[in-house]
């Protein structure tokens, strides 16, 4: 190759690399200006006070001091978010796996059913929140009507302090179809030989489920667990629509992102809201790291536990 006369000054690989950067260019520019820049700005703002009208004022760790020691609502919102996550995530996973198992059967109608289960995840958050508001209506909603057929007097749901969070959790379950698709793919990726080998050894259905299906699904469940927790911590749209942005009644549905929104756009404390946002990030980070740490104990990759 050295005898070939050099036409371009650039080597083939360098040229390809340049093309790569050129194509990446728009995305990188977008990332830097629209995501990176604001992230850096919010880090700085977390240590400032800013009301949008006058210039930001540096206040050091004041925002965090206030958050931890003088703001009971911060802890309330953190608790509300935890409560929602602790129930919604496990129930969501169990629900999605269950539905995926059902949808993995060889029925004629299974394709239609899969679509039906998936539809709720593609509806707009606001629209579905409004529909659920009607369903939860204490006097005319279908849920309390259904309960009344069994002789049970339904609670006030969104108007009750005790039942508002359970209402949100029930509502989140209608989107199991979204994760069902992922589990379905996971189920279909389990090698058939494993089941056949188990059959030869005389394993029953429960046995097969416990020792083949679940372990082979653990990577998918792990991925889903992390994504669900990250997502649940950030719940906002439904709460905002269903409680009119108040987090009521009496702050029972004041989740952390709603609290951030209130501070940023209602009270115009941009600095404090930025501080809260970073706290949310740190909390989610801690949970994610914890999950990775303990993954070795239960996640099986390719039939082997990842140590």
């Amino acid at each position: 190759m050295e005898t070939k006369p050099k036409r371009n000054k650039l080597k083939m690989s360098t040229l390809e690399a340049i093309w790569g950067y050129v194509f990446l260019g728009p995305w990188i520019l977008g990332m830097v200006f629209f995501i990176g820049g604001p992230i850096i700005a919010s880090v700085i703002l977390a240590f400032c006070e800013w009301d949008l009208l006058t210039a930001p004022k540096f206040v050091g760790l004041d925002n965090f001091g206030k958050m931890f020691f003088h703001d009971p609502k911060f802890w309330v919102s953190l608790w509300n978010t935890f409560y929602y996550t602790i129930f919604a995530v496990p129930l969501g996973i169990v629900g999605s796996v269950f539905v995926a198992l059902l949808m993995n059967q060889k029925w004629k109608t299974v394709r239609v059913l899969r679509t039906i289960y998936y539809l709720p995840s593609v509806t707009a958050g606001v629209a579905s929140a409004i529909i659920w508001m009607w369903l939860f209506n204490p006097d005319f909603g279908l849920i309390n009507y259904g309960l009344s057929l069994f002789g049970i007097k339904g609670p006030l749901w969104l108007a009750s302090e005790a039942w508002s969070k359970p209402a949100l959790i029930f509502m989140s379950l209608w989107a199991v179809g979204g994760n069902m698709i992922i589990y379905l793919a996971g189920l279909q990726g389990i090698p058939r030989q494993l089941y056949e080998a188990a059959d030869i050894d005389g394993a029953g259905i429960i046995h097969k489920f416990r020792y083949i299906t679940i372990p082979m699904l653990t990577p998918v469940i792990f991925f889903n667990l992390i994504m669900s927790i990250v997502w649940s911590f950030q719940i906002f749209t439904q709460v905002y629509v269903m409680t009119g942005g108040q987090g009521g009644p009496a702050d029972s549905t004041l989740v952390l992102v709603l609290y951030i929104y209130q501070h940023a756009f209602k009270y115009h404390h941009m600095g404090y809201a930025s501080g809260l946002s970073w706290m949310l990030f740190i909390v989610i980070m801690i949970f994610t790291l914890l999950q990775f740490r303990f993954a070795g104990g239960w996640v099986h990759y390719e039939g082997e536990l990842k140590k």
Binding site: L53, P138, H269
Partner: protein, 425 residues
């Protein structure tokens, strides 16, 4: 090589193309931001057209939805250095701007103005928009929240005489009870009285209570005094003791129907709000209604919260003389006359409010009550943190009172020291 350069050019053009419009107005154009419903938009557009014709200066008027979205939009523009030149402001969102130095002092312009002078306006609204010695907003309307709309048909059917202005809180209870109707299951199908939103301030002011020690320079919240506690408890009693007003859960149970819809669909006999509901009610045919002033408190006193709005010029506006001229077109006599005719708002200029532009023979017949109402108008504390206090501390705690879970005394004795500690140190 050529292809490479072309792509580079395309990418850099894309990046530059994202740059937005130049901020602010210039000598030949003004930017104006406002909110309003259909009737107001028509009037504003007509006045702007006149202004453009008379001066040759283009006005780009931007309308934003009223309430929190308006403030969000305006504040974002301020933060981005692209604040409008003329701004529509009302008595409550004024507190965000009041002490920040972002609005222009209008006194010098008003002094030079030949078409009207400061004393033409109601002094209370001028005072509200004044900080220190500077007037920052030229008022367009004042809205004492003292209007109790009542459905004449319901009154006639129940055999109750129409209330007169000197009725008392006890009369309110008695009349409310007579208008309330229940069905066979004991569920209330028609209530006697409802307020547009929990207007507890009206009860507090009518009972001689106060919210803070000094509206313009608050240093303490004084809502734990007996007058305030009794007033708030009275409103809660209307819901739970006398059952003439719906509770929050009964409101939720009406499935999205608001208080105004309740009045319009005859689910309530009396509706308490400000005069701005007039255009909507005028549109309903076969609806006989009138208004009466909110009743006197137990000590014979009157007091109500008040709204009001006007126009301000931002301090960074490059062409303030022209901006002032636009303001005179919008808030001057002609603009106010047109507004008065829609019945939507009470003009801030005293003689227009008293004239037949406002006091015409369209319903409600007794709309002159709002002219009297001005003397008893109070405003909310002028501090930028009041929104936070209201939304984060008062509203959720008051929720407990309105839903009957706690008494006014317990809640106020608990929350007022917290407010004082967190916001007034």
């Amino acid at each position: 090589m050529k292809k490479f350069l072309l792509v580079l050019l395309a990418v850099s053009l894309l990046a530059l193309g994202g740059c937005g419009e130049k901020a602010g107005g210039s000598a030949k154009s003004l930017r104006f931001m406002y909110w309003g419903d259909v009737a107001e938009i028509k009037i504003i557009k007509a006045q702007i057209a006149k202004f453009e014709k008379a001066t040759g200066v283009k006005v780009s008027a931007e309308r934003a939805p009223s309430g929190p979205p308006y403030m969000e939009k305006v504040l974002t523009q301020f933060a981005g250095g692209a604040a409008p030149d003329v701004l529509f402001v009302e008595v409550n969102n004024f507190k965000q701007f009041a002490q920040k130095g972002v609005l222009e002092n209008l006194n010098p312009y008003l002094a030079k103005e030949t078409k009207f002078k400061k004393s033409d306006f109601y002094s209370r609204i001028i005072d509200r928009f004044t900080v220190g010695k500077n007037l920052y907003v030229l008022p367009r309307d004042i809205a004492p929240i003292c209007v109790v709309y009542y459905n004449k048909k319901i009154f006639d059917a129940a055999g109750v005489r129409y209330p007169t202005d000197d009725w008392s809180w006890n009369d309110l209870i008695k009349i409310g009870k007579k208008l309330t109707k229940k069905d066979e299951k004991g569920r209330i199908t028609r209530f006697g009285f409802v307020d547009d939103w929990p207007i507890w301030e009206a009860f507090v002011f009518s009972n001689g209570g106060r919210i803070v020690d000094n509206t313009k320079n608050p240093t303490r919240c004084v809502m734990d005094r007996k007058a305030v506690i009794d007033a708030v408890q009275y409103r809660a009693d209307l819901i739970h003791k006398h059952r003439v007003m719906p509770s929050p859960s009964q409101m939720t149970a009406m499935g999205g129907m608001g208080t105004q819809d309740m009045f319009m669909s005859e689910r309530v006999g009396m509706f308490f709000s400000g005069i701005w509901k007039t255009p909507s009610f005028r549109k309903i045919t076969n609806f006989k209604w009138d208004v009466v002033m909110f009743p006197k408190g137990p000590k014979g006193e009157r007091g109500f919260p008040s709204g009001g709005s006007g126009y301000a010029i931002t301090s960074k506006c490059p062409n303030k003389e022209m901006a002032w001229k636009l303001v005179t077109y919008l808030a001057g006599e002609e603009g106010q006359k047109k507004l008065a005719q829609t019945g939507l708002a009470q003009p801030a200029m005293k003689n227009i409010a008293k004239s037949k532009y406002f006091l015409d023979d369209k319903p409600p017949k007794h709309k002159d009550i709002v002219l009297d109402g001005v003397k008893y108008a109070h405003f909310m504390p002028l501090m930028s943190n009041w929104e936070e206090i209201n939304v984060s501390m008062l509203a959720p705690e008051f929720d407990k009172i309105w839903s009957g879970k706690s008494s006014a005394k317990t809640i106020l004795k608990k929350v007022v020291p917290e407010i004082n500690e967190n916001f007034f140190e």
